[in-house]
């Protein structure tokens, strides 16, 4: 068979086609309504569990499918081509919670949470950002103080995807980062916090988001929450590494979402420009429209090649793969937003309304320049990593 960067094995190809079929039949028909109503589709989320998607990177003995970063990228690319909002909820669960715990947790914790998280009966999320600290992660002010065999958690977390599953209900379980030492010491620890723990509550479900409206975003409140030490993930004070390790996969899969958005926008503008006529010709005979279509396609393929190249080489348990996981997200998030913008432009007035989907994709694309690290944060990180490098091998 010819070399296929995007489907390196037959398993990857079959997996992609399975998801694509599922997406066409079950995801696409519900996307617009859930965007419009700002609602998370829990039933559909459960179905992803039946397909083995939640545990895509989790070892088989914990209920997962034991696949690699490429498979995770394929899943996000395909889901986001139809419903980026729903895909973001999937990402926050399967990458930020499930994969995070699978890599950084111990066997007892994996046994306790992963089977339910892989089949989709438990909905998880990850809490890093706070009302007063986003890009400046180390500036977080949530604390966990040791008290006998427990930790007492205090603080607020902001922008937490899957934090609420409805206006009033919390998600089930969260990986929460908190200081366990003095603020300047970089001694951050990671805790499993479960719905039902006393003092853990929903601050607010955030409404009125520009895009990604099919995923929920919430502020979560921790008031003297007593967390047993068996819920400490990894070593006390040792969570910065696990955070960085998981961020690499988060950024890679967010970039994969951008690819799905871009592909869909290219498809839509390409077919519209053949059907729609002006001045007696199809739109795609006009040079300015040709530029929109051709540049979008080329940029999409460039981003796609970069993402799959990085995915091939991303070891799920390794640390220090930052420059290219930042790089793919920096390039692809901007690329997808531009491609969605050109798609709207190509469709004219029809591009500006929901029926042709590109306006929703454009709104969703914008978030990828912010969530999981802003593009400015990627620029900062990458330049720091490049400093001192004389040659690029």
């Amino acid at each position: 068979m010819a070399f296929d960067l995007f489907n390196p094995t037959e398993t990857h190809l079959t997996f992609r086609q399975m998801i694509r079929q599922f997406v066409e039949r079950e995801v696409e028909p519900q996307a617009e309504a859930h965007d419009h109503g700002e609602q998370f589709n829990q039933g559909l989320f459960r179905k992803l569990g039946e397909l083995g998607l939640h545990g895509v990177t989790v070892p088989e003995r914990f209920g997962g499918s034991g696949m690699d970063a490429v498979a995770a990228v394929i899943a996000h690319e395909e889901l986001a081509a139809s419903d980026p909002g729903f895909c973001l909820a999937y990402l926050a669960h399967s990458m930020l919670f499930v994969n995070n715990l699978a890599i950084n947790g111990n066997d007892e914790q994996r046994q306790r949470f992963l089977p339910g998280a892989c089949d989709g009966t438990l909905i998880g999320g990850m809490c890093m950002s706070e009302p007063d600290a986003g890009t400046d992660v180390m500036g977080m002010s949530t604390t966990a103080k040791k008290d006998g065999d427990d930790y007492i958690l205090n603080g607020r977390k902001m922008w937490i995807t899957n934090g609420a599953i409805s206006d009033t209900d919390l998600g089930d379980v969260f990986l929460v980062y908190a200081h366990t030492g003095e603020k300047h010491q970089r001694s951050i620890s990671l805790f499993l916090v479960e719905k039902g723990m006393e003092g853990f509550s929903l601050g607010q479900k955030i409404k009125g988001k520009l895009g990604m409206r099919a995923s929920t975003t919430a502020e979560l409140v921790f008031e003297d929450v007593r967390v047993p030490s068996k819920n400490l993930v990894g070593l006390e004070g040792g969570a910065v590494k696990s955070m960085m390790r998981n961020l690499a996969l988060e950024r890679l899969t967010l970039a994969a979402m951008s690819l799905g958005i871009a592909r869909r926008c290219v498809e839509i503008m390409n077919s519209y420009a053949q059907d729609r006529k002006a001045f007696g010709q199809p739109l795609n005979r006009f040079g300015q429209i040709q530029r929109h279509i051709a540049e979008s396609y080329a940029e999409y393929m460039a981003g796609r090649s970069y993402v799959y190249q990085v995915a091939q080489n991303l070891a799920l348990d390794a640390y220090g793969q930052r420059i290219d996981s930042d790089g793919v997200k920096l390039y692809c998030s901007v690329m997808a937003k531009n491609v969605a913008d050109r798609a709207i432009q190509t469709l004219g007035g029809y591009g500006y309304v929901s029926e042709y989907k590109v306006e929703r994709l454009w709104r969703d694309a914008k978030l990828l320049e912010i969530g999981g690290g802003t593009i400015e944060a990627h620029q900062k990180n990458m330049t720091r990593d490049l400093t001192g490098l004389e040659k690029l091998l």
Binding site: E10, T11, T14, G52, L53, E60, G66
Partner: protein, 248 residues
């Protein structure tokens, strides 16, 4: 119980069909291939029979090397082993039926489950021809299937309603859309499918001459439809149907 089920690799039925300028076929550049959707119902029913009665599901495809992908999909859904009869020729239904007849003779399944037709050419012939080459009873357009004591009871979609047919096994059953809801190949299923056996045979291994009896001469697009009209009342509609369309 041994069940044999067939899958065909077809062009995506949802694509816009473009005919080659010389009319020799359709343009297949940039076209996706899929498992024939009626075959998905056949595969699902075969797996359900196995789940209820035990046994083995053998999945067979006639087609190019790339059709291993459709076979693997059926294996990922839960079939046990695959056979590809590899050919790059575009065969007529008769040649396909004669190839399948040899496989059925060798495998001796109790039930053969097929899609009622393939969504690329929509010929709706292979199942019926296979039954007649084998001298087996057939029940086409199945919307329900029960198997007990060497007989199959098949609910069938027929013009103007439904009918029920009892056939003695072994028999050929072809699936219609209401038969079941095909499952998706799950990711763990896809991984397991890699380890399941898949044999490849050629038409000559089976001793079958695949020269087509039916040849396609030319593809042509149907004439473009004239633009419609919007009328403002039922009366106006009736008048137009009577006077202009002469349909009443």
């Amino acid at each position: 119980m041994k069940i044999l089920t067939t899958v065909k690799r077809v062009t995506d039925p949802d694509m816009k069909v473009k005919i080659k300028p010389d009319g020799s076929g359709i343009v297949t550049d940039g076209v996706e291939y899929k498992m024939n959707s009626f075959d998905e119902y056949g595969v699902e029913e075969a797996i359900k029979l196995k789940e209820a009665h035990g046994g083995e599901v053998v999945v067979v495809s006639v087609g190019p090397k790339a059709a291993t992908k459709e076979i693997r999909t059926a294996l990922a859904m839960g079939a046990d082993r695959g056979i590809l009869i590899e050919t790059d020729e575009d065969l007529d239904s008769d040649a396909v039926a004669r190839l399948l007849a040899e496989v059925v003779k060798a495998e001796a399944p109790e039930v053969v489950l097929m899609g009622k037709q393939a969504v690329d050419s929509d010929r709706n012939q292979a199942g019926q021809m296979l039954a007649s080459y084998l001298g087996y009873p057939q029940a086409t357009f199945a919307y329900s299937l029960e198997v007990a004591d060497g007989w199959a009871t098949v609910g069938r979609e027929v013009d103007g309603g439904t009918s029920t047919k009892r056939v003695k096994l072994p028999a050929i059953v072809t699936a219609d859309l209401r038969l079941n809801e095909p499952r998706y190949a799950s990711l763990p299923g896809i991984i397991k499918a890699k380890r399941k056996p898949l044999d490849t045979k050629s038409p000559s291994d089976l001793g079958v001459d695949i020269t087509n009896k039916v040849n396609v001469l030319k593809f042509e697009a149907p004439p473009a439809r004239a633009a419609g009209q919007i009328v403002d009342s039922v009366d106006a509609l009736i008048e137009k149907l009577r006077d202009e369309a002469k349909a009443l």
